[in-house]
Subunit: 413 residues, 3 copies
C-alpha cells in the first residue's frame, strides 16, 4: 500500500500592452472591450495517488482555482485503475480524454503559458476531464489509448468563459435534465525515428466521435445541452472568448447532434532544439447542419540556451519534466533557459456557423531554476482577427492586432 | 503526535432500463419526467485525522463531490475529540448524528449502492453531519451515543435535491436569518447474542427530538427555515425527488416546529449469511399539525459466495471493512463476491402531509478484489408508487414500475 | 525536497444574551434585526508547504469554510518563495498584506476569538490575502516587509458579509470587468527593549497606498469595483455588518480612487502579563472626496494564571504558539489558563462618509490543554453604537448595548 501527495501552483499575470486604438470602443451599457490587466492563481492543485497490491491504483486531484458554478467542477483526475496485464492499463472514473499531444501533456510541461488556440478550442475549453472507462497500452516506441466517456463532473470548468454553454456536468442530473452526452476518443502515437532521448521524431493521430445531449421541454423549446466552441487567443487572466460559435443547438431546427474530431501531431527533438505542430478539425452534424468543418493548426520551435533537451515520456507519448543540467543558486548555477516562438491559426467559420477566425504569433522565455520551479514570460501578438457579424464583444476585436504580455511562476511537488 | 491522510472515491453510473411507458409524459414547458442516464463521481473525499498526547484527537474530511450552493457544505466530519476517560468519548464540531444502523455505517461499507429509502429520507438527505457536542460510550457488547446538534455547515448538501428547503446552514447567519435549529439525538446498540465475529445478533434503538428554525419577516411572511422530507428511491446520478413533502412550513398557520424521530434496528450475521432490518418513524408537530406520523422500513439479506462474513465494529455498533479471504490477482485469486436482495417501504403521507408512498425491491452483486477496492452492481425495481395529488413531476411517477441499473467502482485509502 | 501537511479547525458558537429591547424591531418585509444564535465551523484549513534545494519554497493553504460566491476564494496562502540571500525573502503569489500586528498574527494565536474591529474593518474584511510580489527582511531585533499586491483570488472571502462590494476577485477578469486594483503595503517592527523571551517591548508601523478598480460602462454607469469598509463588532457566527460605509464608489461623481492607510502598534510582555494596542487610519481620496479620514484603535491586556508568557516570533514580528508549562491530563495537569480584557473603537464617519461609529468592551478566558488545542470563551458588550441616518438594519442598532457570548474549540496540526 503506498500513497503520495502531489500538487502544483501557477501564479499568472497578464498585461494588455497594445494601444487602446486597435479594439473598438464599447457603447451604451457595455463595459470596455479591452482585455483587463491583472494577476491571479491560474491553477492550484492538490492530488493523492496510490496503489494496492501492485495491480490496483487510484488518483484524485482537485484544482482549487477552478470551480465556477459548482464545487465539484474543480475535480480533475478521479479514477481507479488496474494493470494486472501490464502494459495494459484500465481506468474507471474521471480522466483526460486521449486527444492531441498538447492536451496529453501536463500543463506543468507546456512550452507556452497557455495551450495553443486550436487545442484549447477543440479539447481543453470543453473540459478534457470526463467520466468514463479508458484502456491504454504502451510499448517503448508506441502508445495507444481509447476511452468511452460521458461528461465532466460539475458544471463548466476553470477554462470555461462565462459564454460556455456546456453547463450541465454530470454531478446530479435531477428533474429532467436529460441523459449525459457521451463519446469515444482515441489516440495513437509512435516514434518512427529514435536515436536516443535527445534525438527523435514523434508522430500521432487522434480521433473522437461525440453524441451531444440536447434536452428539450415537452413544448419543443431547448432546455439544457448543446455545445459551443470558443477561444480566448492565448490569454488567461482575462479569458474573454473572442472567437465563439455560441451554442450550436438553438432549437429543434438547428441542433448539433454529433461532433467528430480528428487530429494529427508531430514533434522533433534534436538536442537542445525542438519543433512541434498539430492540426485539428471538428465536424458538426445534426439537424440544420451539413457536416460543417471547423479547424486550426499550430507550430512552434524551442531551443534550450543551456543545452538541455525537451523530455519525453514514452509511456504517455507526451512531454515530461525538464531537469536543468545545473540548478540555479547564488554560487554560479544558472538553471535551464529556453526560448520559443510559435504561430497558430483557428477557424470557427463554416456553413451555418460563424465563430470567427484568428491567427496569433507568440514568443516565450522560460527559466527553470531547478526541476520543480519554472518562471515563464510570453508575448502574444494577435493577427488577422476576423469576427465580422458576431456579437458586440467579439465584433469589437475584428482586425485588432492586440499585444499581451503574460508571466507565470510555477511550482509543483 | 500522529497524523494521517485518508480518502475515498466512488464512481457511479445509472441507467434507466424501464420502457418509457411507465412514467407519465411531461407537458408544456416541463422537461421529461424520465430518470436520466449518466455517470458521475458520487463521493470524492479527502480527510485528515490525528491525535495529541493520546487523549485529544481531531478529524477533518471534505467531500469534493458535494457542495451545491456553498463551498463549506462539502465538509463532512470536522471535530475535536477527547477520550481522557476512555471508553468515554467527547466530540465538539461537526459529526454525524447518532441515528440508525445504516446511517452509522460508512457509505464505504453499505451493502447496496445507496442507503435504503427510509434512512435516506429521515436522516441522510437532510445532511446527517451537524455541528454540536457529542458523547459516546462503548463496551464490547454495547454502545451508547448522545448528541446535541444544531445544523449542518453550508447550505444543503450533496444529498439534497434542488427541492430541499433546508437551505440555511450555519456558516454565516447574517442579516436576520434566524437562530439555528437544534436537536438532541441518541442511539444505543447491543449484541444480545454473540458467538464469535461471524455469528451474532445486533439490536439498536435511536431517538431524536428536533426544534425547527422558522424565520418570519416582521409582516409575518416566511423568510427562511422549515423542513422537508424527500426521497429519490435508491437512485443517485439522477436524484430527482419522487417522494417529497415540500416545505412543511408554509406560513404562520402551517408551521413544523418539532420533529420527533424513532428508529429500531436489528441485524444478524451467521457465517457468510447476514440479514438486516430497520423501522423509522418521524412525527411532525407544530401549528396546523396534529402529530402527523411519517414512517418506513426496510429489510435485506446478503450472502458471501466466497465464504467471508460481514465485518462488525463493536466500538461503533456499525458495519466495518470486508477483507477478502483471497485477494484478486491474475494468478487465480478471485477476491470476495457477495449477493444481496432487499425490499423497502416509505410512507410520507399522513393528515395534512402528502409526500407520497413507495416500495422498492432491489438485488445487488458486490465484488471485493481486495480490502480497499469494490465494484458494485444494483438493479432497482420500483413498486406501488403512490404520488396522487402531488406536484407534476412527482405525480408523473404515480403507479410507475421503473427499473434502474446502477454500478459503482469504489476505492478508499 | 521536503513537504509537510498542516491545517487547523475552529468550531465556534455565538449566543445573543442581551434582552431583545436594545435593538429596534424590524418592520414590513424585513427579518429580525437581532443577532442570531448558532454554531458553525469558523475556519477549516488544510495546507501544504515545502522546499527545494533550501532556497526555493512554496506554501498553499485552503480554507474549506470560506468561499462564498466562488470556490477559489477559499485560497489563503498560495506562493512560491526564494531566500537565496537569507534573511532576505521574496514571495510571488497570494499572501497576506504586511499590515498591523494583529493581522500579521495567525488567527490561531489571537487572544480573542475575533480580531479587533479596527483591524477587521481596515485589513481583514477586505481579504488581507492578495496576489502579488513581496519582499521581507528580518533581524533578531527588527523586521521589514514590503509588498506590491493586486486583489484577492475569487470573489469576496469568508470574512465578507454579504454587504461587501469587493466582489471582483482576480480569478478570471472576463468580458470587460476592468483591470485589477493594486497597492503597495509595508510594515516595519522592532524590539526597542528586549530582556529575554518573557520581557520585551514591541513597536511597529504599517503603511499602504491602494489604487481602487472602478469600472464603468460606456454610458458612465458603475459596472464593477469600488470599495467599502464594514464591521460586525467582534461577532462571527452572525457576521451582520452593523457599521458599513456602503460602496464608496457610487458613480462618476463620487468615486473612491485611492485609499491610504497608516497604522501604529505596540505590545509589551512582562512575564505572564502582556498588553497590546494599535491605531489605524484610512484616508479616502477620489472624485467627490476630500481626504476623508476613518480611524479606530484598540487596547487589551492578558494574563496567564498558570505562569506562561505570550510567545513572540522575531522573524515575523508577530505572536506565536503558546506551549503550556504542563499539559492537561486526567492525572493532575491543568494546561495553560489565560484571562484577557479589551476595549476598541471604530469610526467610519467623516465628511461624505457615514458608516457609523462604535465602541465595544470584551473579556476573554482561554484554556490551552496543550500546545495544539485551545478552548476560548468571550463576552462582548457593545457600547455607544452610533448608526443614525444609516440603512435600516444598521440604524436598528443605534444606541444598542447588545451582549454576545462566543465560544471556540480550536485544533491545529
Amino acid at each position: 500500500f503506498d500513497m503520495s501527495i502531489n500538487g502544483r501552483m501557477q501564479v499568472d499575470s497578464m498585461t494588455n500592452v497594445s494601444g487602446s486604438s486597435s479594439v473598438a470602443n464599447a457603447t451604451g451599457a457595455n463595459t470596455t472591450n479591452q482585455l483587463a490587466d491583472g494577476a491571479g492563481i491560474r491553477r492550484a492543485r492538490i492530488g493523492v495517488e496510490g496503489s494496492y497490491y501492485k495491480d490496483f491504483g487510484y488518483k484524485f486531484e482537485y484544482d482549487f482555482a477552478r470551480g465556477n458554478g459548482s464545487v465539484a467542477s474543480g475535480i480533475t483526475d478521479a479514477y481507479v485503475s488496474w494493470k494486472g496485464y501490464d502494459p495494459l492499463n484500465i481506468k474507471v472514473g474521471q480522466f483526460k480524454e486521449p486527444f492531441s499531444l498538447e492536451e496529453a501533456t501536463s500543463n506543468r510541461y507546456l512550452t507556452f503559458i497557455e495551450r495553443n488556440n486550436v487545442v484549447n478550442a477543440f479539447s481543453d475549453n470543453d473540459n478534457a476531464y470526463k467520466v468514463g472507462l479508458g484502456v491504454g497500452y504502451s510499448q517503448p516506441r508506441w502508445t495507444a489509448n481509447l476511452a468511452l466517456q460521458t461528461e465532466s463532473v460539475g458544471s463548466g470548468g476553470a477554462s470555461s468563459s462565462t459564454s460556455s454553454v456546456n453547463t450541465m456536468g454530470n454531478a446530479n442530473r435531477n428533474n429532467g435534465s436529460g441523459d449525459t452526452g457521451w463519446g469515444v476518443t482515441g489516440r495513437v502515437t509512435g516514434l518512427p525515428w529514435y536515436e536516443d532521448k535527445t534525438k527523435f521524431l514523434h508522430v500521432g493521430l487522434s480521433g473522437s466521435e461525440r453524441q451531444i445531449n440536447n434536452n428539450f421541454a415537452a413544448n419543443g423549446s431547448l432546455s439544457t445541452g448543446g455545445i459551443s466552441f470558443g477561444n480566448q487567443l492565448n490569454t488567461n487572466v482575462d479569458r474573454t472568448f473572442i472567437l465563439n460559435t455560441g451554442n450550436l443547438t438553438t432549437g429543434q431546427t438547428r441542433m448539433a447532434q454529433r461532433i467528430a474530431r480528428f487530429g494529427g501531431e508531430t514533434a522533433l527533438v534534436y538536442g537542445p532544439f525542438s519543433a512541434q505542430a498539430e492540426y485539428i478539425q471538428a465536424n458538426v452534424s445534426g439537424r440544420g447542419y451539413n457536416d460543417e468543418a471547423l479547424n486550426g493548426w499550430y507550430g512552434y520551435t524551442s531551443y534550450f540556451l543551456t543545452g538541455e533537451s525537451r523530455a519525453y515520456k514514452t509511456s504517455t507519448g507526451a512531454w515530461d519534466r525538464i531537469k536543468p543540467k545545473q540548478n540555479f543558486n547564488t554560487h554560479g548555477g544558472w538553471g535551464a533557459w529556453e526560448i520559443a516562438a510559435g504561430y497558430d491559426y483557428l477557424n470557427l467559420v463554416d456553413g451555418n456557423i460563424n465563430g470567427g477566425r484568428a491567427t496569433t504569433g507568440k514568443v516565450g522565455l522560460n527559466w527553470y531554476p531547478n526541476s520543480h520551479i519554472r518562471l515563464m514570460a510570453n508575448f502574444i501578438h494577435a493577427l488577422n482577427i476576423d469576427t465580422k457579424g458576431m456579437a458586440a464583444r467579439s465584433a469589437a476585436y475584428n482586425s485588432s492586432n492586440f499585444d499581451v504580455v503574460e508571466m507565470r511562476a510555477q511550482v509543483d511537488w
